[in-house]
Every structure is written in C-alpha cells, then in structure tokens.
C-alpha cells in the first residue's frame, strides 16, 4: 500500500488540555478514511495540524512521503469545520482568489461551480448565500486544482437530503479515480456507506482504527419474535451470548459459528414458529458506541 499520509506521535496541547495525544496513523492511497469521535475528541484539531494551521506540540506527519510545505497543500483540498470565505466577495470572486493561491485555471472554476450547482448564483455575494450554498461553495473550492487528497470536516452539515446524497455520490466518484479522502463526520450511516477505513478518537486518543468491512466480521445478531413469549425459551438456547429486548423484538447475539438458521431450527424443534426472524447487518454506529464504551 502506498501511503499518502503518515502520522507519527502527533500531539497537540492547548495549555493543560491535551486535544490530540500521540497519534499514529497511516492513510493509504485511494482510501476513504473516516475520522469518528464525539464532540471535542480532536478531529478538527488533527486535521488543522495536517493542514499546518495548528502548530503541533510534538510529533509530525508526512504527506506523500515528504515533509509538508505550502506547495504540498495546493494538492490537497480541505474544508475544516465550516466554510470560510470573504463575505463581501461573490462566490465566483472567492473561487478566483482560491484559484490564484492554488494555481488553478479559470475553467476549473466554471466546472466546480457547475458540479455543486451554484453556477446561477455565482455572482451573488457570499454573505447572501444560505448555509447549504456556503457548504457547496466550500466543497467547490476544495475541488479546485484537481486535488490528490480531499479533506472534509462535516461536509454535509446544513445540506438538504438531496445535497447529502449528492455529496455521497461525489465522494464515491472522486474515490473511484484513485484519490484519497479523509472525512470527519458524525453521520455514521454516511461513513459506513462511503468509507473504506475508519478511526475512532476519544478525548484525543485514537482508540481504534481499521477497515470498515471488519465491522461485519463480529458475531451475528438475529432479531426474532413469535406469537408466544420467547423469553424463557431463548434462555435455554445454547448458541446465544446475549439476549436483549428491543423495539418489541428479541435481539439475540449469537456465539461464534452459530447462524440464524440454527436458531430457527431450535425454535421449530420446540414447537414454535417464528413470525419474524432477521439476521441484522452490524451497523458502524453500534460498533462505534461499543468501541467508545470499551475504551473507558
């Protein structure tokens, strides 16, 4: 795997508060990397250090195998936290300014504006834009100069459902060109849909990192119900490691090697016909909450 980003012992202290603690991480080319963590866990601070706007307290990082300079950043499109533009300039003029800094051409401006569907509002002042339009302009600006890496911090914040799904498609499309995306988000559903890898931060510590597909490798969970009360019967089932009642169903976590049809067979032998039996796909959300709970 070709590493696009290597982080080594990266640390940031704000006075006594340790916002990022000795982080080690590697992001490979073509990965869509999700950064997860509760509010204040250090996601934006980390991304700020990677973009050289926050000075690390210690440790370092390499982009494309080299020490980062301002020219490195021209190949990285980034929106951190919320869109930042000159309010008195039009959308077009703001992008022209970004293009001047990055060394992007004028026709790229036209095409990114089209991509985020802002072409007909480009000559309005930025301060007159709605939140979603500001967000779109920020994404347009990050896409200028054909970036090798895209860093998005809550990119769908304030977007309408159509906008959110458009961003999702955009991310997938960009990733399919072999480009790398780092995404900080609280929308775990979205992360699960687009990301290939993810890391979980908690109070500045990285408590987990791995591929998203591993999420499904855990024990199977089966949702089950029948016309009769199942609670006692299920307790006698050897293949269950945990049984919970949720949304009016029994949620049975199976032990290793046991599958949903084993449970079905077991119930049938007890003379019970299940009215509902679903093998649940494990959600990233659930895993995320588990990781956070375990890392106490």
């Amino acid at each position: 795997m070709e590493a696009v980003l290597q982080i080594e012992n990266l640390t940031k202290n704000f006075g006594r508060l340790c916002a990022v603690n000795k982080m080690n991480l590697e992001v490979g080319k073509g990965q869509v990397f999700g950064m997860l963590g509760p509010n204040g866990s250090g996601k934006t601070t980390t991304l700020g250090m990677l973009m050289s706007v926050v000075n690390p307290s210690s440790g370092g990082f390499k982009w494309f195998g080299q020490e980062s300079t301002n020219d490195t950043r021209k190949k990285i499109g980034a929106v951190l936290e919320h869109p930042i533009f000159y309010p008195y300039l039009t959308g077009q003029k703001n992008l022209e300014l970004t293009a001047m800094i990055k060394g992007a051409t004028a026709d790229q401006i036209t095409s990114v504006l089209k991509l985020v569907e802002l072409s007909d509002r480009k000559d309005d002042k930025y301060k007159t834009y709605s939140l979603g339009m500001k967000q779109r302009l920020a994404i347009a600006s990050a896409l200028l100069n054909d970036p090798q890496v895209l860093i998005l911090d809550e990119p769908t914040n304030g977007l309408d459902p159509m906008g959110i799904s458009e961003i999702r498609e955009l991310i997938k499309k960009i990733a399919s060109d072999g480009r790398t995306i780092i995404l900080a988000s609280h929308l775990l559903d979205e992360v699960q849909k687009v990301c290939t890898h993810f890391a979980v931060l908690k109070k500045g510590n990285m408590v987990y990192s791995g591929p998203v597909e591993d999420v499904n490798k855990g024990p199977e969970i089966v949702e089950v119900n029948a016309d009769v009360d199942l609670s006692e019967v299920l307790n006698t089932f050897q293949g269950a490691s945990a049984i919970n009642r949720e949304n009016g169903y029994f949620e049975v976590t199976l032990t290793k090697g046991i599958k949903g049809h084993d449970l079905n067979k077991f119930l049938f032998e007890k003379g019970i016909t299940a009215t509902h039996l679903v093998t649940k796909k494990r959600s990233l959300e659930k895993q995320f909450l588990e990781i956070l709970a375990e890392s106490k």
């Binding site: 700020g48 973009m51 050289s52 706007v53 926050v54 000075n55 300079t69 301002n70 020219d71 950043r73 021209k74 980034a78 951190l80 930042i84 533009f85 000159y86 309010p87 008195y88 300039l89 003029k93 022209e96 300014l97 970004t98 001047m100 800094i101 990055k102 060394g103 600006s141």
Partner: protein, 267 residues
C-alpha cells in the same frame, strides 16, 4: 512576489470600504494643500503675536524648494487614514478567519505576510507619488520663477516621506495582527502616540539621548517641522541619516515581529 501582491489586491479592490477610505485619504490630502493659503494667514497672525510683521506674498511657503519639505511634512499627518485601512484589511482576515483558509489553500504564513507588506509598500509609494504631484503643481503655481536647481533640490524628503508612511503602516499591520479586532486596534493605534509621548516626557528627565530611538518619535523625526523657520529662522531643513536608520530599523522590527507572531500562533 508580484503574484502575492496581486492576491492581496484582489481582496482589496473588490472591497467597497477600501475605495471609500482611499478616496477619503487622497481627497483630504488634496484639500489640505488647496486650503494652505488659509493656513499661511494663520501663521501670519501667529507671527504678529510674536511681534513679527510678515508679508504673506513674501513667505516662500509654496516656493521651490521649500514646498517639498512643507508639503511632505503636512501630508505625514494623514498617514493615519491609510493605517486605518491597513488595520481593517488585516483584522478582517482574522475575524473572517480567511487567513486560516489562505494557509489551508496553499499560502505559507510567510507568503501571507509578504502579500500584506507588499500592499503596504504599494500604498506608501502611491501616497508618495500623489504628494509629489500635489507639491509639484502647487510649487509651479506659487513659485515666482521656476529654476531647475530649486526644483531638484531637497527631493530626499520624498524618500523620507515614503519611509515615514511605510514605517507607520508596518506598525499598524503588527498591531492589527496582534490584537485582531479592528476597533480596538484603531483605538490603540491612536493611543500609542500618546502613550509614547508620556513615556518620552518621563524619560526625557533622566536619559534624554534615548528620545530619538523611540519608534513613533523616530518616524516623526524623518521630516522635521519646517514652519518655525518663517518666524524664528533656525530649523533642520534636511533629512538626517540617523533618523532614517532608526526609523528603518523599527520598520524592520515591526514586520519581523508580525512574522514571528503569525508563525507562532494557531490560526
């Protein structure tokens, strides 16, 4: 270099406040010279109270080469207006947080600062050219006879004027960068003159030789006040090298401190 200047000018030339403040600045500069005759009459009245009789027509206030020092000296007061513009320009970058996005997009912090410093140089140069034109025109109007020798005499006052404006704009840039809020910066910019004057007054009693080294003092020492010569005669009618060196050193220090501040802080 030119690229960095163009980046900063793009931010400014599309900003209405910039045109208003600059328009105001150049308008005031022009108006002051136009109303200079009134000032002359005031001088005469003042002279009269000292028991000196002066014939206005015979004061060579607007004659070459006097006009150079007189007009550069008076114009120096209006640099504060340009400094307000510089303060607004830099504090905007912090209140809008655009300095952060500029760096994210690929400017180094050094380049960001240079883009601001280059604008300061440009503004100072434009102001110098403007003042030169004003002085030239007034000189041509009022001088009884225009001799080439008089015309090219004392032109170093323009170099001093340029440094005076640039040094002050550098100070404004540093202050704006440290304080980051336009209102407070402007108040402090104005106050700093008074604060320094108070400190100077106290220092004067103990170590008077230190006085010319104060930053604001050194800036105002570049072009000495010329008017007393029409009443009392003895004045310094040249630019002193030591004043240039001290003010130049301060200019460098202001910009270097601005660089250190920007480099050290999280933006």
């Amino acid at each position: 270099m030119l690229h960095l200047l163009r980046i900063d000018l793009k931010k400014l030339t599309n900003y209405r406040t910039f045109w208003i403040v600059c328009g105001l600045y150049f308008f005031t500069l022009g108006m002051t010279t136009a109303s200079g005759m009134e000032f002359l009459k005031w001088l005469v009245r003042m002279g009269a109270s000292f028991g000196t009789q002066i014939n206005i027509a015979r004061i060579p206030f607007y004659h070459f080469p006097d006009v150079w020092q007189n007009i550069t000296f008076v114009s120096g007061f209006f640099k504060a207006i340009l400094a307000f513009m510089v303060v607004i320009s830099i504090t905007n970058e912090f209140t809008y947080r655009t300095v952060r996005q500029n760096v994210i997009d690929g400017l180094s912090r050094y380049q960001f600062l240079i883009s601001k410093v280059l604008t300061n140089i440009l503004l100072s140069a434009m102001s110098m050219v403007m003042v030169f034109i004003i002085a030239l025109v007034t000189g041509l109007i009022y001088s009884p006879s225009v001799e080439m020798v008089d015309l090219v005499m004392d032109l170093e006052f323009f170099a001093a004027y340029f440094l005076e404006v640039f040094a002050f704009l550098s100070f404004a840039l540093l202050l704006g960068m440290v304080i980051q809020r336009s209102g407070l910066t402007i108040v402090l910019l104005v106050l700093s003159q008074m604060i320094e004057a108070i400190i100077r007054a106290n220092v004067d009693d103990y170590v008077p030789w230190l006085i010319p080294y104060f930053p604001m003092e050194s800036i105002s020492n570049l072009i000495p006040m010329p008017f007393p010569k029409y009443v009392f005669m003895e004045i310094q009618d040249y630019v002193s090298i030591s004043a240039v060196l001290i003010a130049g050193a301060w200019t460098f220090i202001f910009n270097y401190l601005a660089y250190l501040k920007l480099k050290k802080s999280d933006i």
